[in-house]
């Protein structure tokens, strides 16, 4: 199975350890993982602000980089959600549609495609609060959203439950948005920071040692809020825990 490794721009620049964990984790399953060198960004920052024409170059480059793989896998729910649901700045040729359909976020790839049921190398003896980003929760449907009347399910929870020693704690508002929202974090800075602060305090009240997420963008924002507010809580990407990060 030939996998194209999608490392979003901000993970490349700010969270190389998340990209490394994703690559190593996929390789543990004996997959042929290729890192296309020329990748930059999926186009989301521009498209999300309404600027489709300005997003089209990045989107076209993404398609060129990731044509011909069985799956394209990336550790960012938000970017994958953009690619699968809103990647419309380009003409929807067969190549574009094919790349979009083959693009998976890491958790759903492990859960739905590889159907992984054990991470024998992983041990994480900590209290963990799971933060599902809105793109993964309501867009990619990683888990039941609290607004919907349907049976409980959670793909990230199912994967993390296989990690030895890991203990879940629940926030009182389990899936309230943390307020990152891409450029919302800049244009609506005060509301964004307040949402992030409320979110990390909610997890802290639940005695979480760590907030774990499939989205580094939410974690970057929440960490900034926690540090500013002196909330003693740590942040880690789910790829790192599943790959056996010690702490």
């Amino acid at each position: 199975m030939k996998i194209g490794l999608f490392i979003p721009c901000f993970i490349d620049a700010f969270f190389p350890e998340v990209g490394i964990a994703t690559l190593q984790l996929l390789e543990r399953f004996k997959l042929d993982v290729v890192y296309p060198r020329d990748q930059t960004c999926c186009g989301q920052p521009m498209a999300n602000s309404g600027y489709d024409a300005e997003a089209s170059g990045a989107e076209a480059l993404f398609v060129r980089n990731f044509e011909g793989f069985d799956y394209i896998v990336g550790p960012s729910g938000s970017c994958v959600h953009h690619i699968r649901h809103f990647f419309t700045a380009l003409d929807q040729t067969e190549a574009v549609r094919d790349v979009r359909a083959r693009t998976y976020e890491l958790v759903e790839f492990l859960h739905d495609i590889l159907k992984v049921d054990a991470f024998p190398w992983a041990r994480f003896p900590h209290k963990v609060g799971l933060h599902n980003s809105c793109g993964t929760l309501r867009g990619l449907r990683h888990a039941r959203a609290s607004e919907l009347r349907e049976p409980h399910f959670s793909k990230p929870e199912q994967l993390l439950s296989k990690v030895e020693g890991l203990q879940f704690v629940a926030a009182s508002r389990p899936d309230e948005c943390c307020g990152f929202g891409g450029l919302f974090s800049i244009y609506n800075e005060s509301v964004s920071a307040k949402m992030g602060s409320d979110k990390v305090h909610d997890f802290a009240r639940a005695s979480a040692d760590y907030i774990v997420s499939a989205d580094s963008s939410c974690l970057m924002h929440q960490r900034g809020c926690a540090e500013r507010g002196n909330v003693p809580i740590k942040f880690i990407h789910i790829a790192q825990i599943l790959n056996g990060a010690a702490a």
């Binding site: 490349d12 700010f14 060198r37 930059t40 920052p45 170059g57 809103f86 924002h221």
Partner: protein, 483 residues
């Protein structure tokens, strides 16, 4: 945040934050008004807690109803069916209502609506109009127009009356004064109806308002209600309330005027059951409103008029991406769940309709004035999930951004930044040079992604620390020979 601000009163009472600044048709700055709301932490915290409680009660009602998701789909289907045959059902309603002895008027826009109402009042020699809550009359600016004609309009619902006496718009479609503390209400009532300024006990305040309003209600020349639903097959006007003032407005004066948007129509009485089951559960988390009143015709010796108002609705019906916003039954569930709304206050939107539904309706009234509103969202999607008629609100917010960028003015600096970012991200070598030309990726990366936005980021958050090397550099260093 908790220290006193210069606006605080002598006892340290936190001053009520006011809404968005209005500057004609210039774009509303929701973020600026939200910042002031957040600077009043007692107001913001109470606002957030009250609305989150409503959301939780709504969830309890949802779990008590196994058929919840089925009802949402049914509600959506009925509304879409009706909207796609709106002319047919409106004419059916008109014919039935006329047969019931109701006079039906058609208003193309707000000005026509207000003129029709004014003429009716003048014909009946009414100088005081009592009314129960109606978002449509807010949309039409009815009170201000009637005031110019010398007609005194008195809101009878508590929240709406508080807002009228404070000369503020409603901040929420169901709980119009939810952004106020009880001390704010005590202050407003003391200044306007002469209640004890030091008594902010809610039952006392409600009683004071009732005592002040009852004589006006009993002597008013005309009464007005809105409509939650218009039933085409019977010509009935259905109004759902908790205080019962709509019944007073409809039944005491000899003239009852109903103001209703044309999208309020539903085909049959049987359809009504779906919406009555969903409305209050979604809005307040109560199974049903205290009163569900069906007005089918005038009382003996009285007149009943229905004004059917378009005011941009048929134009919206023709918008391929936005017409389903007309399904809205004004329950406010999207506001209650919206994390941005709960932290901003409804008046920060500077429009009749606030919160998520406002973001997608307001630009249809004035695309320039409300051009910033679709950006006051994280696109988290909770609004779409709670909507009892399944409006894809967050997708329409996203779609509005595209329309506004394509067809309307956007700030030059923002467009220039987006163009620059798009150009860099489309060229791998330029991109690499940009993030790796210095050891400090932070200095360059955010500049082209979010221009100089890091100043904003740093106000309430710490900056991310740039790593020693990017993922790309690590990969080349450790596996450079791999294909």
């Amino acid at each position: 945040m908790s220290e006193r601000t210069p606006d605080d009163g002598p006892e340290g009472i936190e001053a009520q934050p006011r809404g968005a600044r209005q500057r004609g048709s210039k774009p509303i700055d929701q973020a600026e008004a939200a910042r002031r709301f957040l600077a009043a932490p007692r107001h913001q915290q109470q606002h957030d807690a009250r609305l989150w409680t409503l959301r939780q009660r709504r969830d309890e009602q949802m779990w008590a109803m196994p058929e919840w998701e089925e009802l949402r789909q049914l509600g959506s289907d009925i509304k879409e069916h009706t909207l796609s045959r709106l002319d047919h059902y409106l004419e059916m309603f008109e014919a039935k209502a006329k047969a019931n002895g109701v006079v039906v008027h058609w208003a193309r826009d707000a000005a026509e609506h207000n003129k029709i109402v004014q003429q009716l009042l003048e014909q009946h020699g009414a100088t005081t109009l009592i009314k129960s809550k109606s978002m449509l009359t807010e949309e039409c600016g009815l009170r201000a127009d009637l005031a110019k004609a010398g007609i005194d309009v008195v809101e009878t619902d508590l929240g709406e009356r508080i807002q009228q006496l404070d000369d503020e718009d409603p901040s929420h479609v169901v709980v119009p004064a939810v952004h106020k503390l009880r001390t704010d209400v005590a202050k407003v009532f003391a200044a306007t109806i002469g209640s004890d300024p030091d008594n902010d006990d809610p039952p006392y305040l409600a009683e004071a308002q009732r005592n002040a309003a009852r004589p006006v209600i009993l002597s008013a020349g005309a009464g007005m209600t809105g409509a939650n639903f218009l039933v085409a097959e019977t010509g009935a006007v259905v109004v759902c309330t908790n205080e019962g003032n709509a019944d007073l407005c409809a039944n005491i004066p000899a003239l009852h005027i109903v103001s209703a948007g044309i999208e309020k129509i539903i085909p049959r009485m049987g359809d009504l059951a779906v919406f009555v089951r969903m409305l209050s559960r979604s809005a307040l988390g109560s199974p049903i409103t205290q009163y569900t009143s069906h007005f089918r015709g005038p009382r003996p010796g009285a007149e009943m008029h229905v004004v059917l108002v378009d005011n941009g609705r048929s134009e919206r019906l023709g918008m391929a991406e936005f017409w389903t916003s007309l399904k809205c039954i004004r329950c406010g569930a999207c506001m209650n769940t919206c994390p941005v709304y709960r932290r901003s206050g409804g008046l920060s939107y500077g429009a009749t309709y606030s919160g998520p539904i406002g973001l997608i309706i307001d630009p249809t009234f004035n695309a320039r004035k409300y051009s910033n509103l679709p950006y006051s969202s994280t696109l988290n999607g909770s609004c779409s999930n709670v909507c009892p008629v399944k409006i894809n609100i967050h997708e329409q917010i996203y779609a509005w951004r595209k329309v506004l960028v394509r067809e309307h003015e956007t700030p030059f600096v923002k467009r220039a930044a987006m163009r620059a970012a798009g150009a860099v991200l489309a060229r791998p070598t330029v991109y690499r040079a940009a993030i790796e030309k210095t050891n400090d990726a932070l200095t360059s990366l955010p500049r082209f992604v979010i221009y100089n936005g890091m100043n904003e980021w740093g106000k309430g958050r710490e900056m991310p620390r740039p790593p020693a090397e990017t993922f790309h550099q690590w990969f080349i260093r450790t596996r450079g020979d791999k294909p």
